[in-house]
C-alpha cells in the first residue's frame, strides 16, 4: 500500500554485478556504500543527525517487487480460508428448532483442525482452529435458549471447548472434570456435546482449556460468544473484533498482533461504516503472553458496556483496556466522513500489526487511498501511497 522508500531494485542490481565483477570482499563494500550515497542523491540535507523518515520515491511496484509488511503486501485469504473483512460481521446463529416445552434449542457443530495460516504477509503459522478459522466462529444466541454444541476433534491434539457462561461442571470443557459423563478432554477423533442454557446475556468467549493452556489458546483455539438480551439491543451495524496475537517463534512473546488475526488488515481494507449510523463493536481480548490489550478509536468516543451484561453503559470514553479474557461492547456513531484510525493504545502492539481504519461515508464513493495515505505518513508506514 505504501510505496517504498527510495531503494529501487535497479541500482541494487548494479551493486550486485559490480560486486561480482570486483570479486574481493574488500572491494565490494565500498561499492555498496557508494551506492547508498548514489541513492540518496548526494543531498547534504538528509545527512541530518536526527534522521528523517524516508519520503519521496519515484519507484513503482514493478521496480520494487519485494514489498514489506506495511508496504502493501497482504496475506492469501483464500489459502487461509477466511478473510478478516468477512469475519467482522459474520455471526453464526447455528440451527434452531422449538422444543416441546416451547423453548428454542440452538445447535452448532464445531470441528477442531490443525491448519497452517498466514498471519502476516509471508509468515506462516501452524495454527489450531475451530472450524478452520482464527478466531473461531462467533456463536450468537438469545438469552434463555437451550444451546447444544457438538464438538468434533479432528486435530492431532486433545482439545476442549470451554465456554464462559453459567453451566454445569460436566460441560465446562475442563480436562479432569466431567470425564465420567464423557466431558473434559476430547481426544483426537472423538467428539462431545456441550449442552447448557444461554446465560447470562452479554459478550462472552469460548476457548480450549487443555494444558498447556497458554499454548492451546495462543495457537488459535478461541472465539466470541454473544448472548443477546431477551429484548434485544437497538439496531446497529454490528461487528466482532477479537484482539489476538501470534508467537510465531515460540519464545513466549508475540511477533504479530492483530484484531481478527491478520496484522494491519483493516489498514489495507478499512472497515466501511455509514455516517450517523450506530456502530456496535463486540470487543474480546484473547491475547496470550501480554497481560493487557487495549482499544482506542480516533476522533470519536464510544459508550462502553463491560462484558455486555448491563444495558446501561458504564462510561463514555475513547480507550478501553482489557486483560486476558476480558471483553466489552462498544457503541458509537461517526458524525463526520473520513478515515478514522483505531488501534491498541499499547503502541507496541499497534506497530506490530494491531492497527486499522474505519472509513466513514458512502463506501461506494470513496477510494482506498485516503486511509492508505494517512497510514503511509506514520513512522512505520514509510513512503507515499501508491
Amino acid at each position: 500500500m505504501c510505496q517504498n522508500h527510495r531503494v529501487s531494485a535497479k541500482p541494487a542490481k548494479e551493486g550486485i554485478s559490480r560486486r561480482r565483477l570486483l570479486g574481493g570482499a574488500a572491494a565490494a563494500a565500498p561499492a555498496v556504500v557508494g551506492l547508498g550515497s548514489l541513492l540518496r542523491g548526494g543531498d547534504g540535507a538528509d545527512r541530518a543527525r536526527a534522521a528523517a523518515p524516508a519520503t519521496g520515491g519515484h519507484t513503482g511496484h514493478a521496480e520494487f517487487p519485494h514489498a514489506a509488511f506495511a508496504a502493501g503486501a497482504t496475506v492469501d485469504h483464500r489459502a487461509n480460508g477466511f478473510d478478516p473483512s468477512d469475519l467482522l460481521r459474520d455471526f453464526d446463529y447455528g440451527k434452531t428448532r422449538r422444543l416441546a416445552s416451547g423453548r428454542v434449542l440452538r445447535e452448532w457443530e464445531i470441528v477442531a483442525h490443525d491448519k497452517e495460516i498466514e498471519v502476516a504477509p509471508g509468515v506462516r503459522y501452524e495454527a489450531w482452529t475451530y472450524n478452520g478459522r482464527v478466531p473461531g466462529p462467533t456463536l450468537r444466541a438469545r438469552e434463555g435458549e437451550s444451546l447444544r454444541i457438538r464438538f468434533v476433534n479432528a486435530s492431532q491434539h486433545p482439545h476442549t471447548m470451554h465456554f464462559h457462561g453459567i453451566h454445569r461442571a460436566a460441560v465446562d470443557g475442563m480436562p479432569g472434570i466431567g470425564e465420567r459423563q464423557g466431558g473434559g478432554q476430547v481426544q483426537p477423533g472423538e467428539d462431545f456435546i456441550y449442552e447448557f442454557d444461554a446465560s447470562p446475556f452479554g459478550l462472552h468467549l469460548y476457548h480450549c482449556h487443555v494444558a498447556p493452556l497458554a499454548a492451546h489458546i495462543a495457537r488459535g483455539l478461541y472465539g466470541a460468544f454473544v448472548i443477546d438480551p431477551k429484548q434485544g439491543r437497538p439496531e446497529a451495524d454490528e461487528m466482532v473484533m477479537v484482539m489476538n496475537g501470534f508467537d510465531t517463534n515460540f519464545d513466549l512473546a508475540n511477533e504479530v498482533y492483530a484484531v481478527n488475526t491478520v496484522g494491519f488488515h483493516y489498514v489495507n481494507e478499512p472497515i466501511a461504516v455509514k455516517r450517523g449510523e450506530l456502530v456496535r463493536i463486540y470487543l474480546v481480548n484473547v491475547l496470550e503472553y501480554d497481560p493487557l490489550n487495549s482499544f482506542h478509536v480516533h476522533a470519536n468516543f464510544f459508550q462502553h458496556y463491560p462484558t455486555g451484561t448491563s444495558l446501561q453503559p458504564s462510561e463514555l470514553t475513547d480507550t478501553v483496556i482489557q486483560g486476558q479474557g476480558q471483553r466489552g461492547i462498544l457503541e458509537l456513531e461517526f458524525p463526520f466522513d473520513g478515515d478514522y484510525m483505531f488501534h491498541a493504545h499499547v503502541s507496541e502492539f499497534a506497530e506490530l500489526g494491531w492497527t486499522g481504519f474505519f472509513r466513514v461515508g458512502d463506501p461506494s464513493s470513496m477510494s482506498r487511498t485516503a486511509a492508505a495515505a494517512a497510514y503511509c505518513k506514520l513512522p512505520w508506514g514509510g513512503g507515499s501511497p501508491s
Binding site: H5, G34, R40, A51, A52, H66, A120, N249
Partner: protein, 406 residues
C-alpha cells in the same frame, strides 16, 4: 604386508601411475552423482522442521535507513518475510532477494527513522515465523567510504601503527650502549610483549569468531589462520636460510628484526581491523586519549623490532642503515592502515577471525625464532634475567593495554 603389496601390484598391473591416482577420484565422483540423483536413497527426510540459522554479518546506518547483511549459516534455505525495528514493522527491500540459500547472503535495506545515540533491536521474521535478532547498541551514521574517509583511516593507521613503532625503534642507539647481559633482558622483554600480543589477538579473534557464521569455520578460523601463518613463516625462514648459507652471509640480527617486523605487522593488521570496524559502527570515539594510548602501547613494538638488530650487531653484523630501519617500521606499522580500511569498510567477522589468527601464528613464529637470544652464558633459556624481562614485557603491555580498550 608383503601379500598386500603383491595384491596391489597385481591389481594395478599395466596401468600408468596417473590412472591409478585418477580411478578412485572418478569413482567418488560417480558415487556422489548417483547419490545426489537418487536423493540419498534410504536416508529419508530430516527428522524435524528445518532449523534456521542466520548470522548478521554487517550493519550499516544511513539517515532514515538501516542496512543489514544476513548470511544463511544453516542447512536449509531461509525466506525473509518481515522486519521489525524496536517492535515496529518497517518496510524493507532485500537486495539479493528474500530467499537466502545455504551460505548465501542478502542485504536488507530497512526504512526506519532512527535517531543517533539510541539503541535498536531488530527482528527479522522468516517465513516459518522464526526470528533473526540484530542489535544496534548505539546508533550512529556509518561513515561514507569516500576519499576523506580512507584518508582518515590512513591517518588513524599512521597514528596507531607507523608513528609509535618508529618512535620505539629510536631505542636502537640506547640498546647499543647496553652490555651483553642486558641485551638478553631486552630480548626477553620483547618476547614478553609478543606473548601478550599473541594471547590478546587470539582472544579477540575468538570473540569475533563467535559472531561469524559457524559454517565458515567460526573459531576454527583463528586456529587455522595461526597454523597457516606459522607454517608459512617457517617455510620462508627455511628458504631464506638455504640462500643465506649459499651466500655465506651472517646477518642473523637483521633477519630476526625483519621476522619480528612481519609478525608485528600482521598483528597490527588485526589491530587496525578492530579499530576501523569500531570506528565505523560508532563504538569508538577517536579521542586524543585513545590515540595516545595506542602510541604508548605500540611504541614497545618498535623496541621489539630493534632488539634483535642490536643482538645481531653485537654478534658481528653490520650497523643497520636508515632505509632499512624505515622499511622495518613500515612493515610493522603500515598494515594498521590496511586493517583500518578493511575494518571500516568491509568488515566481515570470518575474515577478521582469520586475520587475527594469522597475527597470532606470526607472533608465535617470531617468539620461537628469537627465544634462543635469551640464553645466558650457561645456555639456560629461562634464566633469572630472561624471566624478569618476560614478566616486565607482559606487565608493560597489560598496563598500556588498559589505555586502549577498544
Amino acid at each position: 604386508m608383503e601379500a598386500e603389496a603383491r595384491a596391489e601390484r597385481s591389481l594395478g598391473d599395466g596401468l600408468p601411475a596417473w590412472a591409478l591416482g585418477a580411478i578412485p577420484l572418478a569413482l567418488i565422483a560417480v558415487a556422489v552423482g548417483v547419490f545426489a540423483l537418487l536423493g540419498g536413497p534410504g536416508l529419508g527426510d530430516r527428522t524435524g522442521p528445518p532449523v534456521e540459522e542466520v548470522a548478521v554479518e554487517r550493519t550499516v546506518l544511513r539517515p532514515g535507513e538501516i542496512e543489514l547483511t544476513l548470511r544463511n549459516d544453516g542447512p536449509d534455505a531461509v525466506r525473509i518475510a518481515q522486519v521489525a525495528v524496536n517492535d515496529a514493522y518497517a518496510p524493507f527491500a532485500a537486495e539479493d532477494g528474500n530467499e537466502i540459500g545455504r551460505l548465501d547472503s542478502t542485504t536488507l535495506t530497512i526504512a526506519y527513522p532512527w535517531i543517533e545515540g539510541e539503541a535498536y533491536e531488530i527482528f527479522v521474521l522468516t517465513a516459518t515465523g522464526g526470528t533473526i535478532d540484530a542489535e544496534i547498541p548505539v546508533a550512529a551514521e556509518t561513515p561514507e567510504a569516500d576519499a576523506g574517509f580512507y584518508a582518515l583511516m590512513a591517518l588513524l593507521g599512521i597514528y596507531v601503527g607507523v608513528i609509535p613503532v618508529s618512535l620505539g625503534m629510536l631505542w636502537l642507539p640506547f640498546l647499543g650502549r647496553l652490555g651483553r647481559r642486558w641485551i638478553g633482558a631486552v630480548i626477553a622483554f620483547t618476547i614478553g610483549l609478543l606473548a601478550f600480543l599473541a594471547v590478546d589477538a587470539g582472544l579477540e579473534g575468538l570473540e569475533i569468531a563467535a559472531e561469524a557464521p559457524a559454517a565458515f569455520g567460526g573459531a576454527a578460523l583463528v586456529f587455522l589462520g595461526a597454523l597457516a601463518a606459522y607454517l608459512a613463516l617457517a617455510g620462508v625462514d627455511a628458504h631464506l636460510a638455504q640462500r643465506r648459507e649459499g651466500a655465506g652471509a651472517a646477518t642473523g640480527g637483521a633477519y630476526l628484526a625483519l621476522l619480528v617486523a612481519i609478525g608485528i605487522g600482521l598483528h597490527n593488521l588485526g589491530e587496525g581491523l578492530a579499530i576501523g570496524s569500531s570506528y565505523a559502527t560508532g563504538a569508538l570515539a577517536l579521542g586524543a586519549f585513545l590515540v595516545v594510548g595506542f602510541a604508548i602501547h605500540n611504541t614497545t613494538e618498535g623496541l621489539a623490532i630493534v632488539a634483535p638488530l642490536r643482538e645481531g650487531a653485537d654478534g658481528g653484523g653490520e650497523r643497520p642503515a636508515l632505509p632499512r630501519l624505515v622499511a622495518l617500521g613500515l612493515i610493522a606499522g603500515a598494515p594498521a592502515i590496511l586493517g583500518a580500511w578493511i575494518g571500516a569498510s568491509a568488515f566481515n567477522p570470518s575474515l577478521a577471525a582469520l586475520l587475527f589468527g594469522v597475527g597470532v601464528g606470526a607472533i608465535v613464529r617470531v617468539i620461537v625464532q628469537i627465544a634462543p637470544s635469551m640464553r645466558d652464558g650457561s645456555g639456560r633459556l629461562l634464566n633469572s634475567t630472561a624471566v624478569a624481562g618476560l614478566l616486565a614485557g607482559i606487565a608493560v603491555m597489560y598496563v598500556t593495554g588498559l589505555l586502549v580498550a577498544v
